[in-house]
């Protein structure tokens, strides 16, 4: 060009600026970054709170007939000592009550779930000889936050007072199976409702009147309800004939007719001493009720309901699963309505997460707009536009890195973005401000624009690098904060440094690239050359 010699950049800030300033691929890189960022935002799983790695197992050992103090000595204490040997266990909680001992081992937050579960299982199985005689097999229940905590719960209730208690349960149980078949659904469970059951309620007075014992009834019923597989036999010409033995009990009537005793030729049937019914599980003290608002906005009285809960597989998107459950339920709506069954979604973590994420994304955009207006006022609208462009580019890179490292979009991730927003425009502001200063500096009026921009970028390179490094340094120790809080806040030290490093690259590559095309040099340069 008409210049004496091109400026030789010393810092990599200037080198980056120099390399990309006239490169046609820069714009392609920009578009590529923005699109991978947008894709990441769309496909990353969304949650309200970040996933925490909480591991623990509960060991339950029953010893029927033992008192709490006995359980404490023979089950809980030996078990506690054994679990103490496991590495990584933070707390051991023991509970001894009549008949059963429960020991819960909680691992330090962040201990890998699978390893921890295996360690506990291993320890118990190796030491199964420590349990006393008569103790039942230990039940080991690992804690699994993803599977244990449902993301969606739906309450089904009947508007039809005549409907039997078991019918609602059976209807919902059918739906449960279909919901469980949806993609990424881990566990579905039913709470409330009653199962069908034959109830034999023996009248104590009649029992003693007929001089019968409960044991006789048990034997009589058990001997009749026995089932065998079909019998296979051959005909003379070797054709197979199946002969099935029908179960003797088909209805409540069959049970009523069971003969429990014979005295001097006359038989006593079960129906004579007991009331037999096919109804619901009367021994179940648990029940679930719901009260919702009717069309007039008034609360209905409490009525029995069955709650279906749905939990998701780890690392999957709660929003997608919740929507899938919702649309699956829609297909049953009309048939359910015919039978007078209504449902209401009582928990929707997917929707909650989506709302929280969308609200924060809105805040993020609002902040960017506010900063753009501020810069437009102070530096001019062209400069402001350049800085405003760098923000989505930086966030796009950060989102993509977060996606690659298997993170999810949650409140804390977005909170990290909001926190870094104030920091990541800094590098761009500093670069653009220095370019601006040089453009308006009379001394450099004779210089070529390309050289001037590279020099301006190069000049503030070292202090900006070191200052950004300083902010990254402040975030690094935060990654080592342990406990629940450390886990909860992990997205901050994980994402803010990435955003800051990205901000440097974007500031050195795109700010000069855009500046040389968008900024206008003041008139005095022409006057000067004249």
């Amino acid at each position: 060009m008409n210049n004496l010699k091109p400026y030789k950049p010393n810092d990599w800030a200037g080198k980056l600026a120099c390399g990309f300033l006239r490169n046609p691929l820069t714009i392609v890189l920009g578009i590529f970054l923005l699109s991978i960022g947008y894709l990441s935002l769309m496909i990353m799983p969304r949650e309200e709170n970040p996933q925490m790695v909480v591991s623990g197992s509960t060991v339950i050992v029953a010893l029927p007939g033992a008192s709490a103090a006995e359980i404490q000595k023979v089950i809980v204490q030996p078990l506690e000592r054994k679990l103490k040997e496991v590495k990584g266990v933070e707390h051991i909680m023991g509970t001894a009550m009549d008949n059963v001992g429960v020991v819960n081992a909680a691992f330090f937050i962040g201990e890998a779930k699978e390893d921890s579960n295996l360690k506990i299982y291993d320890k118990i199985m190796q030491n199964s000889d420590i349990f006393p005689k008569g103790a039942m097999n230990p039940i080991i229940k690992p804690l699994d936050i993803d599977v244990d905590i449902p993301v969606v719960s739906v309450a089904f209730y009947s508007n039809n007072k005549e409907m039997s208690k078991t019918e609602l349960y059976d209807r919902v149980k059918n739906i449960q199976h279909h919901i469980n078949g949806l993609k990424n659904v881990a566990v579905t469970e039913l709470k409330g409702g009653n199962k069908t059951q034959f109830n034999i309620e023996v009248d104590l007075n009649k029992l003693s009147g007929y001089n019968l014992s409960m044991g006789q009834i048990v034997q009589a019923v058990q001997s009749l309800s026995y089932s065998v597989p079909a019998v296979k036999n051959r005909t003379d010409d070797n054709k197979i004939i199946m002969v099935g033995v029908k179960n003797a009990i088909e209805s409540a009537k069959d049970i009523e007719n069971i003969i429990v005793a014979q005295y001097m030729g006359s038989t006593i049937q079960l129906g004579q001493v007991a009331r037999v019914e096919k109804s619901y599980d009367i021994q179940n003290f648990k029940s679930v009720q719901i009260s919702v608002r009717d069309e007039n906005g008034e609360f209905t009285a409490l009525r029995d309901q069955v709650t279906l809960t749905v939990s998701k597989l780890q690392g999957t998107n709660a929003v997608v699963i919740a929507d899938a459950v919702k649309s699956e339920l829609e297909t049953y709506k009309s048939t359910l309505k015919e039978d007078g069954i209504s449902y209401v979604i009582t928990r929707n973590d997917g929707e909650r997460a989506n709302e929280a994420v969308n609200e924060l994304v809105f805040h993020l955009i609002l902040s960017i707009v506010i900063i753009a207006i501020l810069l437009a006022l102070v530096l001019g609208w062209r400069e402001s536009l350049i800085v405003t462009f760098t923000v989505p580019a930086i966030l796009a890179i950060t989102l993509f890195v977060a996606y690659l490292t298997g993170q999810t979009i949650n409140r804390i991730t977005l909170f990290a973005f909001l926190l870094s927003l104030g920091l990541l425009v800094d590098a761009a502001i500093i670069v653009i401000e220095n370019i601006h200063r040089h453009y308006y500096d009379k001394e450099s009026a004779h210089c070529d624009a390309d050289n001037l921009i590279v020099r301006a970028t190069d000049e503030i390179g070292p202090p900006t690098n070191i200052a950004t490094l300083a902010i990254i340094m402040t975030m690094v120790p935060m990654a080592f904060v342990g406990q629940m809080m450390g886990q909860f806040m992990k997205p901050i030290p994980a994402n803010v440094p990435v955003a800051l490093i990205a901000s440097l690259f974007v500031a050195y590559i795109f700010t000069p690239y855009l500046a040389v095309r968008m900024l206008k040099r003041p008139d005095f340069s022409k006057e000067g050359s004249n």
Partner: protein, 568 residues
């Protein structure tokens, strides 16, 4: 405008009286802001503030041994109260079990609930954007009403309100773990501690996590009589269980229903009821229940056993191999730190009648029974423990950040003095953080706490303000180096030139943080960033130039050597 500022800075740093005034004012501001936290309690600390939720749970727990019918009476009462609320959408009652598990329930052991005296109520509220009253204010309002009307139906009923936590969940806001070696002593002490909690302002939903002891009857089998009558003890146990609890004695497979259909046998509801809760009615009922021996003879059960009234065996809890009981309480819109300290003081003052009290650790107590010489320990857990851990660890992270920055600066400038100035300048932003919280507390209706997120904001601030100082020093250096300006000129010119980008970046941070400040959880961070940045700007444009002027810049920038070279 920047010219004026440049002159002001030059005047400020050249007169020694003004220099001293600036440094003294900074020191006073720093000390005053520290005082705001510790002794005066003008700024209160809490791990995380309450969060406005669209849902919350109510746990009702009756005394042990209560029936599900009694529990239902209490929950019905609670539901009736809730139905009067306009913002409630639906109410679910889970009798005898926990509600579908949530994060809070996982820690509070909601999934282990499996008895007749327990119930959980879940309610959904209207969306928080359409609702004027935050959920935590609603809980605070209805809690006394429900406790007054419903918890008083049966003695020993505990109704607690469980809101989804803003951060990681804990067992309760305040947990006092009472350790000891004998169950009775632990029981007595924990009951006394719970009485103290109940009288402490700000503590609600107080509960002792222990079984209540209730009356029961025990059947003792007379083994000689059993052996003589030709029946077995197993048969006897089975029959008693079968008669009163009932058993599934067989199943029937079905292709219509989703489960196997059990065949369940029990005495009929009317005929198995005891007429009253006393020994005679139990005996009378058992007398009509008979066993058949191998010879086909019928023997009444009362012939084989004797029945005694007895107290129930409460469950025994242990943590890390030591026997203990938890006394838990929630806080009513206040930080748990201050009621906890108050309760601790009350314990120290009033328990001295029976116990010798010794302080162990930071807040924990050791109580020795004056008569029996038995030793008990009171350890604080729950949110207190998490808060302490978090603040200590974040504090350590903060110190580590300071050291890292200092080392980075030493590497960059190869001067301890300059690095010290940058560090000092960035440390001053704490004034802004604390004063900011105090100002916010004045302007908000409920308490604005200094939270864990405030601390995170503060840590981020050190980086931001060290960046300001760094750009300033770097520019001063290049001015002195390339344009051979005097120290005062260079500092003043650098401060004036750098003021624009410093203001700009500060404004960007402040504007980005204003939206954070409104959030319940991130409010602390927002406020810390806004006010901390203001303090950081003031520090880097006024205090840092003064400190720089006091330092021997020529030597630190390695300029004196160059001067000698050029002179030679």
């Amino acid at each position: 405008m920047f010219k004026k500022f440049e002159n002001a800075v030059r005047k400020g740093i050249e007169s020694s009286a003004k220099r001293r005034l600036i440094l003294l004012a900074t020191l006073i501001a720093f000390i005053l802001s520290i005082l705001m936290i510790a002794p005066s309690k003008m700024v209160l600390a809490k791990m995380l503030p309450g969060k406005n939720n669209d849902t919350f749970n109510i746990y009702t727990t009756l005394a042990n041994g209560s029936s599900v019918e009694q529990t239902k009476r209490v929950t019905d009462c609670v539901v009736e109260q809730l139905q009067r609320e306009d913002e409630v959408l639906d109410i679910e009652v889970f009798l005898g079990m926990g509600a579908p598990l949530d994060f809070a329930g996982l820690i509070k052991g909601s999934h282990f609930k499996n008895s007749e005296h327990e119930a959980e109520i879940v309610l959904n509220l209207t969306k928080k954007h359409d609702r004027s009253e935050p959920s935590y204010m609603m809980v605070q309002r209805i809690r006394p009403l429900i406790i007054k009307n419903c918890a008083s139906i049966y003695e020993g009923t505990v109704v607690s309100f469980v809101e989804p936590p803003a951060g990681p969940p804990v067992l309760a806001a305040v947990v006092a773990e009472i350790y000891g070696s004998d169950a009775d002593g632990i029981r007595e002490l924990s009951n006394r501690v719970s009485e103290v909690f109940k009288k402490t302002d700000g503590l609600v939903d107080v509960d002792v996590m222990q079984d209540d002891i209730y009356d029961k009857f025990e059947i003792q089998v007379n083994s000689t009589k059993v052996a003589r009558s030709g029946v077995s003890v197993k048969q006897l146990n089975d029959i008693i269980y079968l008669a009163f609890e009932g058993m599934e004695i067989s199943v029937k497979n079905s292709d219509i229903y989703n489960d196997q259909i059990p065949i369940y046998l029990s005495l009929s509801r009317e005929s198995k009821r005891f007429s009253s809760k006393d020994l005679n009615s139990v005996k009378a009922k058992l007398a009509s229940l008979k066993l058949m021996n191998a010879q086909g003879m019928m023997i009444p059960i009362t012939e084989l056993v004797s029945i005694y009234p007895k107290k129930s065996n409460p469950l025994i809890m242990s943590k890390n191999l030591h026997q203990m009981t938890n006394v838990v309480a929630e806080t009513d819109m206040v930080s748990q730190v201050y009621p906890l300290m108050q309760a601790r003081d009350t314990i120290i003052d009033t328990f001295s009648d029976k116990y010798l009290i010794e302080k162990i650790g930071l807040f924990n107590l050791e109580l020795t029974d004056k008569e029996s010489k038995k030793v008990y320990k009171l350890m604080w857990d729950g949110e207190m423990e998490v808060t302490l851990d978090t603040f200590v660890e974040l504090g350590a992270a903060f110190i580590a950040a300071l050291i890292l920055i200092f080392l980075l600066m030493v590497i960059y400038y190869k001067s301890y003095t300059l690095s010290g100035i940058i560090l000092l300048g960035s440390f001053l932003s704490i004034i802004g953080v604390i004063v900011g919280h105090w100002i916010m507390d004045i302007f908000t209706t409920d308490t604005f706490f200094l939270t864990a997120t405030s601390l995170i904001g503060f840590i981020a601030l050190i980086g931001i303000s060290s960046r300001n100082s760094l750009l300033l020093i770097d520019f001063t250096k290049s001015l002195m180096n390339e344009k051979a300006m005097t120290k005062a000129d260079a500092i003043a010119h650098a401060a004036a030139t750098r003021a624009k980008p410093i203001f700009l970046t500060a404004a960007a941070i402040i504007l980005a943080s204003t939206l954070l400040a409104g959030d319940a959880v991130f409010g602390g961070l927002g406020v810390a960033l806004i006010f901390g940045t203001i303090a950081a700007v003031v520090a880097s444009l006024i205090v840092v130039p003064v400190l720089l002027y006091n330092a021997d810049l020529e030597r630190h920038f390695n300029l004196d050597k160059q001067h000698i070279d050029s002179q030679a």
